[in-house]
Symmetry: C2
Subunit: 227 residues, 2 copies
Amino acid sequence: MAGSSPEREPVAARASARRGIPPATVARLPGYLRALHALAAEGVVTTSSDELADRAGVGSAQLRKDLSWLGSYGRRGVGYDVEHLSSQVEVALGLTTQRRVVIVGIGNLGHALANYSGFADRGFGVVGLVDADPAVVGTTVAGLVVRPLDELRAIVAATDASIGLIATPAAAAQEVCDALVEAGVVGILTFAPRSLRVPPHVDVRAVDVASELQILAFHDHRRATGA
Amino acid sequence: MAGSSPEREPVAARASARRGIPPATVARLPGYLRALHALAAEGVVTTSSDELADRAGVGSAQLRKDLSWLGSYGRRGVGYDVEHLSSQVEVALGLTTQRRVVIVGIGNLGHALANYSGFADRGFGVVGLVDADPAVVGTTVAGLVVRPLDELRAIVAATDASIGLIATPAAAAQEVCDALVEAGVVGILTFAPRSLRVPPHVDVRAVDVASELQILAFHDHRRATGA
């Protein structure tokens, strides 16, 4: 919405967007936004690239380069205006409208995700819960009634959900993914430990907790063996 | 264990490890292992780089390059032996010994993680649950009694845990992280939406679900605005 407002999205930012912000930069923007919101909550009005980079856990040269893609360079001796920069990052990420999320798979993890309070203040609303298990369908989780998988298409249409969150076992994930895509979702965040096939217009992000642990194990192992 | 066995860790692999496997390659190894285990479960004995790459969701040139760091090149016209390659990846990641994990923060997410059945067959055992809330301490989750934060050091020492999993709110995460580091943990997987400071000998992996959604929002936004 504000994406079309010239005050919030200056010409330089639009030009950058057209050139295409690199995916690695996009992946770091949520971290900057998180740090900016924390600064704002502390009443901080302006911040330096060093402070912001430190809070976000990146180098300050990296931060300055990333923010230059948004047409944001800070001011020498003054730094970045926290509120203005927050708006710029939000506009770049498209967070000026709330995006609606449907969760499929209401087991332990789906339950936890449905109840996660951190979505709302970061631009997302959970609008639908779906499960294949008749014992789970009809129960109320986080204020929403869990509905059967064959209603997925109707739920996505009725709620205008654009993002699907897959919290099913690995064996069911591709089928659920296909159903989400067919229902019209264009972004999928999956927690199932398998890779998913989607058409080119759909984006997938994957979180595999055991894979993250295995990456940590590698470092521990290297240390232990003195490699 | 098998890490010191010459059969399972050939000279070439050890040489590669000494040269240092690039972090991006390390991050892809768990995906290859996941795909290899799925193939083995289907009774597949040998696989091509094309098939394995497809299953893992990467390009086959990328796969071959990554596996060459393990000293594994496949055989022309035969491909890779599924079982042997699985072992090589497991040795490289240090998964030949089970690693012990302590979870701090037994709210909705900590609860779901404690109950996650996917850890055990991927090399990890949850050996301790810790929470700061007196109402949660003493309850049993996934067969373990939740213990208070001030027992963390004793739990890590008694269980020889090397990895800590942080599922607390953001405000508590740095304090919990410091306590885990002090207790002797060398790897931390955090779900709290804030960056954490650790000493150089400790590795941190971060999963921030809302950040993942924000990255998906970016792509949806770009599509919607025709950028």
